[in-house]
Amino acid sequence: MDYVKLINCMRCGMCLPACPTYKETFLETASPRGRVALVRKLQEGGLEQSERLLEYLSLCLDCQACASACPCGVNAGELVAEFTCERKTETGLGFMEDMILRKLVPHPDRLETSMAPMRMYQRSGLQKLVRTLGILKMFPKPLERMEGLLPTLPARPLRQEIHEVTPAIGTEIGTVGFFLGCVMSLIFSDASRATITLLSSLGYKVITPKKQVCCGAPNMLGGDLAGLKEAALTNVEIFGDYEVDFIVTDCGGCGAELKKYAHYIEGDAASAFSSKVRDISQVLSLHSEKLRAKLTELPLKATYHDPCHIAHCQGIRKEPRDLLKLVPGLEYIELESADACCGSAGTYNIVKPEMSDQILKRKLDTIRFSGAQVLVTSNPGCLLQLKKGLADHLPEVKIMHLTEVLAQSLAG
C-alpha cells in the first residue's frame, strides 16, 4: 500500500458526518479518519495487526461516502478495502472462499445451477413451511438472514432467456454491449429485461455476450485479487470481439468495478473497455428528449436512493433524477440524505447484521418521511436490502429499479 495515500489524510474530520458507522457510534475507530490512522499506524509499526484492529476495520462498509466528502482526495473506504485485500492475498484463500470465488462465481452455469435448489425451495411451498415452523432458528444466524433477504426468484435466470443480439427498434443509432450482472440476471431479471427494452426502443442494437463472466467484485471483497484480474481479462477479451459504442450495465456494483479494470490490468484493451463502460442512466440521459416523447403517464410519488456504487464510486447523481423527472405524472420527491448507504454493502448485511440494521433503520425513516409510494434505486444490493426492509417495516412503499419505472412508463 502506498504510504503517501495514508499521510495525505490531514485529519480535518470532514468525512465524519458522511460516514454511516461514525453517525451510529460516534467512535473515532469507526470513522474514515480513524481507519486511515489505524492502517497508517500499522504501517509505521506503532500498532500490530491485532484481532481488535482488524475488527475495527471490518466495520467499514466501503460505501466511499468519505471519498465524496474528502476535499484532499483521500479515499478511506478504498484504502481499507485495499488493505484487507492485500492481507488476505498474503494469508491465502480459505477452503470456502476458494470454493465460492474460484469454483463458483466465475462460472455462470455453475452459479445458475447452484440457485436451482433455492428456486425449488421457494416454489414447492417448502419455504412457506420452513418459515411457518421457524425451522431456520435452528441454523446459524447468517443462514437465516440470507434466506430472509432473498426475494422470490424468477423462473429462469435472464442470461438463459435473452438472445445474444436484440435488434434496435426503428432506425438503428448505435450498438451497445450489455453487461448483465450475476445478481441482476439471477434475481432482478425483470429490471434487466427493462434495460434492454429501453435501449432497443431508443434505437440501440443490444449485444449481450453469453460468455461474459462475473465482474469480479466478489473477488475484490473476498481478497482474491488474482481472481479479479482473471475475471477482468476474460470480460475484456469477450467484449473485445464486438464493435460497440458503450458497454452498459444496470448494476451499480458491476459498473464501478468494470470502470476500474484499466487500473487492475495493463494494456490498451483494458483501457478501451473501461472507457466504454456506462451506467444505464448515463446512456439514457443522452437521449432524454427522445425518451420523453415516448413516455406515457405514470402517476406515482417516487423518490430515489443513491446506491454508493453509483453516487460515490462513479459520481453519478444527476442522471437518474433527471430521468425520473421525465416521466409524465410522476411526482419526484428528493430523499433526505439520499446518498447515505442503506447498509447492504456486499455481504455486510449478513456479516455485520446489527450495524446493517441500524443503518437501514435510518434509511427507512427518511423514506417514511418522504411520503413516496415508490422507492427507486439501481443496484441489486440496495434492492435486496431495501426490499426486505420495506416489506418488514413499510409495506405500503414499493421498490423498483430505475429501468423498471421507465419501461413501465414506456409501455403505457
Partner: protein, 456 residues
C-alpha cells in the same frame, strides 16, 4: 492508567462507552492539528450531565486530568490529552429548546453546529457563527474555542451569542452563568471568561445562545482579481464605504486551484485572487449594497464580477470555500495552518508580509480567509517527513506572528492557543497577561486537572 480506576469509570458510563484499548487510544491521539500527537489514558462517552459530574468527582479525588473533546476538529491541539481522561461529548447532543419569545436556543454540548443552524432556520431564526467545520464541529467545542467563521465580519463570533452556560467545575460542582436575560450585571461576567477557555476552566453541559431573525435575502458575489494587492485594497475600500457584508472571503491562487480541483464550482484558474462576498438583509438594502460592492471591485481592477443566480449556486460557492483548508492538502501531505489576525485596515500589508516570508524561507504558503475581519489563514503546504522544510515553515510563521503583533493584531483569531501557539502567547499578552490568566485558572481549577498544559 490503573485498571482499578478504569473499572470505576466503567461503572459510571458502562462498558460500551469507555475505550482504553491501544487501538482506540491511538486514534484519539490526534485532532485536526498537524504535527502534534499525544495518547490519552482512557476515552469516555457519557450521555448525561450526571455521568459527567460523577466522572469529574472521581477524577478530582484521584487527581486525574480531564480533557473535553467534541468531534476532534480542533486546530491547536486543544482536545489532546497526555495520558489522562478524555470526555467525548458527542452523545450529549440534544437540542433542548428553541424559545421563540426570548429568541434563544438551549442545547447540550455535543450538538453539531449545522444541526442547530437547520433547526432554527426552519423557524425563521438565525444563529450566525459558522466555522469552516460547522458540519461536524460541536457547539461545546465552538464555545470553548470561541469559534468564528465566514459570517464573523457582520455578525461577530460565538462569544457574541452565548447567553447562558451550565458548566461542571473541576470538583464536579455545577456552575450556572447568565441565562435568557439580555441585561445582567450581577457580579463578574463569567460567560465571556468561560467562552474561549479551551476546556481549562470547566466542562459545558448546557449552552443557551442568542438567536436573531433570519435575514430576508442574500446576494452572493464572486470577484476575480488579476493582482493580489488589488483584492486586498478592495476589501478595505468596501468596509470604508460603510458596507458590511456578511461574508468577505479571500482566496489566493494556490487555494483557488485546490478548491476548484475538489469542488468544480467554476472558480477562475488564471487570476491571483478572488473575493467571495455575501450581503444579506432586506432585499432593497442588499440590492444597493451589492451594487456598491460591484462598483468598488471594478474600481480596483477586478477582471470579472459574477453574481450567483440562485440560492443553490450561492450555497455551492460558500460550501466550496469551507473546504479550502482541506483542499490545500491535495498538493502536499502536511498543511500547517495559522490564523494570525490583524486590524482589517492592515490586510494588504499583512498579505505582503506573508508573501515575502514565504519567499524568504523558501516555502509554499497558500492564503485564504476572512479578509473582511482581518483574519487570514496562511497555510504552509509541506511534508512532515521533510524536517528541514518544516523548520523553515515555522521560521516563516514566527515572522508572520511578530508582524501581526506589531500591527496591533493577534496570534490566533479563532483557532485557540492550545498547544500549538503556546510559545507565542507571552509575546502577545506579556508577563502580566500570563499572570492574570494563571490566577483565573487557579481560582477555577486549583488542582490543575482540567485540560492541563494548554494555553500557557
Amino acid at each position: 492508567m490503573q485498571q482499578s480506576f478504569i473499572n470505576e469509570l466503567k461503572a459510571i458510563v458502562g462498558e460500551q462507552y469507555i475505550l482504553s484499548d491501544k487501538e482506540s487510544l491511538a486514534v484519539y491521539g490526534y485532532d485536526s492539528t498537524p504535527e502534534i500527537e499525544s495518547l490519552p489514558g482512557a476515552v469516555l462517552l457519557p450521555c448525561t450531565t450526571d455521568e459527567i459530574v460523577r466522572i469529574m468527582r472521581l477524577c478530582f479525588d484521584a487527581g486525574e486530568t480531564v480533557t473535553p473533546r467534541g468531534s476532534g476538529t480542533n486546530l491547536s491541539g486543544g482536545s489532546l490529552s497526555a495520558g489522562g481522561v478524555v470526555i467525548q461529548t458527542s452523545r450529549l447532543n440534544r437540542l433542548l429548546e428553541i424559545d421563540e419569545e426570548n429568541l434563544t436556543a438551549t442545547m447540550e454540548p455535543g450538538l453539531i453546529t449545522s444541526t442547530l443552524h437547520r433547526a432554527v432556520e426552519s423557524r425563521g431564526l438565525f444563529y450566525p457563527p459558522d466555522p469552516g467545520s460547522m458540519n461536524i464541529s460541536t457547539m461545546g467545542g465552538n464555545v470553548a474555542e470561541n469559534s468564528g467563521g465566514l459570517r464573523g465580519l457582520k455578525y461577530g463570533v460565538t462569544a457574541d451569542y452565548v447567553m447562558g452556560l451550565e458548566t461542571i467545575l473541576a470538583n464536579g460542582d455545577l456552575l450556572r452563568t447568565g441565562g435568557k436575560v439580555v441585561k445582567d450585571v450581577a457580579g463578574y461576567s463569567l460567560n465571556p471568561l468561560l467562552v474561549s477557555s479551551e476546556g481549562t476552566l470547566g466542562l459545558f453541559t448546557g449552552i443557551t445562545v442568542k438567536l436573531i431573525p433570519k435575514p430576508q435575502g442574500k446576494i452572493t458575489m464572486l470577484a476575480h482579481f488579476p493582482a493580489l494587492q488589488d483584492a486586498a485594497l478592495a476589501v478595505s475600500a468596501i468596509i470604508a464605504a460603510k458596507v458590511i457584508p456578511a461574508t468577505l472571503e479571500f482566496l489566493d491562487k494556490v487555494t483557488i486551484k485546490c478548491v476548484e480541483d475538489y469542488a468544480h464550482v467554476g472558480l477562475p484558474l488564471d487570476v491571483d485572487a478572488v473575493l467571495l462576498i455575501e450581503v444579506d438583509g432586506h432585499p432593497v438594502v442588499i440590492a444597493e449594497e451589492a451594487a456598491a460592492v460591484a462598483e468598488i471591485c471594478k474600481k480596483h481592477r477586478c477582471s470579472s464580477f459574477q453574481t450567483a443566480k440562485d440560492a443553490a449556486e450561492a450555497l455551492k460557492l460558500t460550501e466550496a470555500r469551507r473546504t479550502a483548508l482541506s483542499a490545500l492538502a491535495r498538493l502536499k501531505p502536511t498543511t500547517i495552518l495559522e490564523d494570525a489576525t490583524v486590524p482589517r485596515s492592515c490586510i494588504a500589508a499583512m498579505l505582503k508580509i506573508i508573501q515575502d516570508s514565504a519567499k524568504k524561507h523558501n516555502v509554499t504558503i497558500g492564503t485564504f480567509g476572512h479578509a473582511g475581519d482581518g483574519n487570514l489563514h496562511p497555510t504552509c503546504l509541506t511534508d512532515e517527513r521533510d524536517k528541514d522544510e518544516i523548520k523553515r515553515a515555522h521560521a516563516a510563521f514566527s515572522e508572520i506572528f511578530d508582524a501581526a503583533i506589531a500591527m496591533g493584531g493577534t496570534i490566533t483569531g479563532e483557532h485557540g492557543v492550545g498547544l500549538a501557539k503556546k510559545k507565542y502567547l507571552p509575546k502577545l499578552v506579556g508577563e502580566s497577561g500570563i499572570r492574570v490568566m494563571r490566577g483565573i485558572k487557579q481560582a477555577f481549577d486549583p488542582k490543575g486537572i482540567l485540560n492541563p498544559g494548554k494555553i500557557f
